[in-house]
């Protein structure tokens, strides 16, 4: 699979069809990979595809396409981000070649908790789960422990903007209900939720990693960075933190595809995907359409439907 990816990347770069290929390469440790920006056929040999390829690479597209056409390796979930970027006119459909890689699921770092990280040599998919090669031998980790939550409930097919399909889609049967975490959360009363979020947002150190990792957060100047109109205090006041996260959530309403990069990048462990999924569900219930499906659709909050939109005060 990895060879196929490298081969395809090489072809694209050699023929000059694309200026660069964005994929993954080995990181500084065997249990992490890092984004790879290959701009020559030789660079393409660095590309890898293994369970540690977690990042959503669509985040680099708006700036990368400025230098010319880009090919990007995406998992089916990340492909949704590409759809959103095209839909919102951040990139042209013709400027991006979407290479969809077959994804059985990506690594949940918790799965390696019992293994000494220094001894890890290699991580690969094996059977239903993953196999970790260490100094002292091979360790198999079953699927339910090995992969991220979003992968365990994943039913996604190839995104609508697929150009090149690498390999065959693995058989995927969801192990978990997508909304298991939400169902648990929704048991709380309204006031309990207020207290819950006040507590969670107090942890926020306003590093903005969530925003940086988010492919939908591409504003040239974020509302929290503005100095003229200060809507959100830059300090870590609990209220200011609440305001930042709530406003960011509303900005992502109907646009979040649930890749979970915000939560994964959060150093303080704030359950940000819970917000995204809650809002996604509300949007689906009220307006019936989800994010990242149709690149030609109109943005949900940038359009309306006279026949279907709910009426706030029916006469």
């Amino acid at each position: 699979m990895e060879n196929e990816l490298r081969q395809k990347a090489k072809e694209l770069l050699e023929s000059g069809q694309v200026k660069q290929v964005i994929g993954y390469e080995d990181g500084s440790t065997a249990f992490k990979s890092t984004p790879c920006f290959a701009s020559s056929p030789e660079d393409a040999d660095r590309l890898v595809w293994n369970p540690t390829c977690v990042n959503n690479l669509a985040v680099y597209l708006p700036s990368a396409v400025k230098q010319g056409k880009v090919a990007v390796a995406v998992k089916p979930c990340d492909g949704r981000s590409v759809v959103e970027l095209i839909k919102e006119h951040q990139i042209n459909r013709d400027d991006v070649v979407t290479m969809v890689v077959p994804c059985p699921g990506v690594l949940n770092p918790d799965a390696l908790a019992d293994i000494d990280p220094k001894t890890i040599k290699n991580i690969e998919w094996k059977g239903d789960g993953i196999s970790v090669t260490t100094d002292s031998g091979e360790i198999s980790i079953p699927r339910e422990k090995a992969f991220l939550d979003k992968c365990l409930s994943c039913t996604l097919t190839d995104p609508a903007v697929t150009n090149i399909k690498l390999g065959d889609s693995p058989e995927r049967s969801p192990l978990k209900d997508k909304d298991a975490a939400i169902a648990e959360y929704e048991k709380m009363s309204v006031d309990e939720r207020r207290v819950f979020w006040a507590k969670e947002f107090t942890k926020c150190i306003r590093c903005y990693a969530c925003r940086q990792a988010c492919p939908a957060c591409y504003c040239k100047e974020c509302f929290v960075d503005k100095n003229g109109q200060v809507w959100a205090l830059k300090s870590t006041d609990p209220e200011a933190n609440w305001f930042f996260h709530m406003t960011r959530a509303m900005h992502l309403a109907g646009r979040c595809i649930g890749c979970g990069e915000c939560e994964r990048s959060c150093p303080m462990g704030i359950p940000l995907t819970l917000i995204g999924r809650t809002l996604e569900k509300d949007v689906e219930e009220m307006f019936g359409s989800g994010a990242g499906q149709d690149p030609d659709a109109l943005p949900i909050l940038g359009s309306f439907d006279l026949t279907k939109d709910p009426d706030p005060c029916p006469e």
Partner: protein, 153 residues
């Protein structure tokens, strides 16, 4: 008079504890609801004076950020109101506003703010009576929900 005095201008009975009055902010569209409020006033209709009005050019001007900011600053309730469907001065601003605020209300509930604290409504320039009723009802509703405990603790 200061802001505080404006809402508590009823004469105080000596010694009796002051009844809590909710602080409400209203974002009213210039063309319909603001004129409706004007009509309510010039028709001498009575309604609670808890609401501070912010006049906006269109309900579509009301960013959810305004509403969030109001709650962040500790307002007990937020009202957003504009022209009826089909009446928007800018043709379709209220349709965008409707989507946004219906979603916001639901989202606020999910994030721990009672839906009673937020109200989105259509009030036309001719509906002075409706304006008075909506404000009265909304103020009562917020009063029932009690003082907002804030978003930070």
């Amino acid at each position: 008079m200061s802001e505080e005095q404006v809402i508590t201008k009823e004469p105080e009975t000596a010694g009796a504890p002051k009844e809590w009055e909710p602080k409400i902010i209203g974002f009213l569209c210039n063309w319909c609801t603001y004129a409706g409020a004007d009509l309510a006033g010039s028709s001498r209709l009575k309604y609670p004076a808890n609401m501070r009005v912010v006049r906006v050019p269109c309900s579509g001007r009301v960013d959810p950020q305004f509403v969030l900011k109001a709650f962040e600053r500790g307002f007990d309730g937020v009202l957003v109101s504009g022209c009826h469907p089909g009446d928007c001065h800018y043709a379709k601003g209220n349709y965008y506003a409707r989507r946004r605020h219906m979603l916001l209300q639901k989202f606020l509930e999910h994030m721990g703010i009672e839906p009673e604290r937020f109200h989105f409504d259509w009030i036309s320039a001719a509906e002075g009576q409706k304006f008075a009723e909506v404000v009265e009802e909304f103020t009562g509703q917020v009063k029932k929900a009690g003082p907002f405990k804030g978003v930070g603790k």
